[in-house]
Symmetry: C2
Subunit: 208 residues, 2 copies
């Protein structure tokens, strides 16, 4: 439903103190913009005589990019869905031992769900970066800057989503589980940052 609102309305909701959308959902949106730019560059390349020898790759990229965009826009909505139970768990009472136990268990399970969405956003934007990496070589030269813009957007979505994992794992009582999630997050984060920086550098060299 958030993706059906106008851009201005989405920004109004994001700006407000309302619990959703927040930085996680916005990261999925920015990731979707990043992969939309891959679609755009591929669409501008498609059917051009000069790029006829990569047409099959371009067709594959368009299909993949459109799929990733759908997944990322679904994750905008998903992030809001998992945040609401977490937000409710925060407000549970903890006056006595029984209440504390319920709150702890509810929080722990809500925190786990709230980590899964940003992790998925991270995986999807790294896949989007792979498309930009390919487009930096095969895409039309007239839109090479958009490959760099797309990679930059995907990187910020990746970093934004990672903060949303860390802020949740920090509060988990099960430290072993939290550390496992953190390590998984760190691995995707460093892989993605290296990828995005590499693409951006190539584009920067091409436009300067």
């Amino acid at each position: 439903m958030f993706m059906e609102k106008s851009g201005n309305e989405f920004l109004n909701l994001l700006s407000s103190a309302a619990p959703v959308p927040g930085g996680g959902g916005a990261s999925a949106f920015v990731g979707a913009m990043g992969v939309a730019l891959a679609s755009m560059v591929a669409n501008l390349t498609s059917g051009k005589k000069k790029y006829a020898d990569v047409q099959a790759d371009i067709d594959r990229i368009i299909k993949k990019a459109d799929g990733l965009r759908n997944e990322l826009t679904s994750l905008v909505e998903k992030d809001a869905e998992v945040f609401e139970p977490l937000s409710r768990a925060y407000s549970l009472p903890k006056e006595n031992e029984a209440e504390r136990k319920i709150k702890d268990e509810t929080m722990e399970s809500a925190l786990k769900s709230a980590c899964e969405v940003p992790l998925e956003i991270m995986r999807k934007v790294v896949e989007a970066m792979d498309l930009h990496e390919e487009l930096a070589k095969k895409g039309t030269r007239i839109a090479v800057s958009d490959v760099g813009v797309g990679a930059a957007f995907c990187k910020s979505a990746l970093m934004g989503a990672s903060l949303n994992v860390f802020i949740n794992t920090k509060l988990m009582k099960n430290r072993q589980y939290a550390e496992e999630v953190n390590q998984k997050t760190e691995a995707i984060l460093s892989e993605g940052i290296a990828k995005a920086d590499n693409i951006y550098r190539q584009v920067e060299a091409a436009v300067r």
Copy 2:
């Protein structure tokens, strides 16, 4: 008008081979999301007893952030407006000397206008970073991750917009003017990157 379209519709247009919106307008949109997160953190801080001593700063930040958001969403539309004449100039004929002269002059003037919008986007997102810098210290701790997400979005908008300056200055015949614009762009770019990285590091340390 682009900001009145739904998020999904904006992404559809961005993905397509249509000349606008492109990476420049999308950068303004991502910058607007970055500054919307500053508004959000400030709104979550406002009126809280714990942060009563920074209420005046928070009020000022909310006002400034809302203004920057309006400016950035206007720049989404503005970027499309300046791209259209450039797009038309590209297609002008250059069969003879007279046509070449007209095309060169039209291109040169369209390229200048097409640089001004991304430069303005860059200035605005650096101003947005200043708000996040302040919120990293004064904003509510429960939303500290959103300060980092906001700074990351502003950085990618900054970098994305810079590529849109460079791709245009590269085509200018007046190399002195082009170099002046490039230097201005480089200066804002390095200032902004340093600022955003500094904020992000603080947030990362806080959530880990």
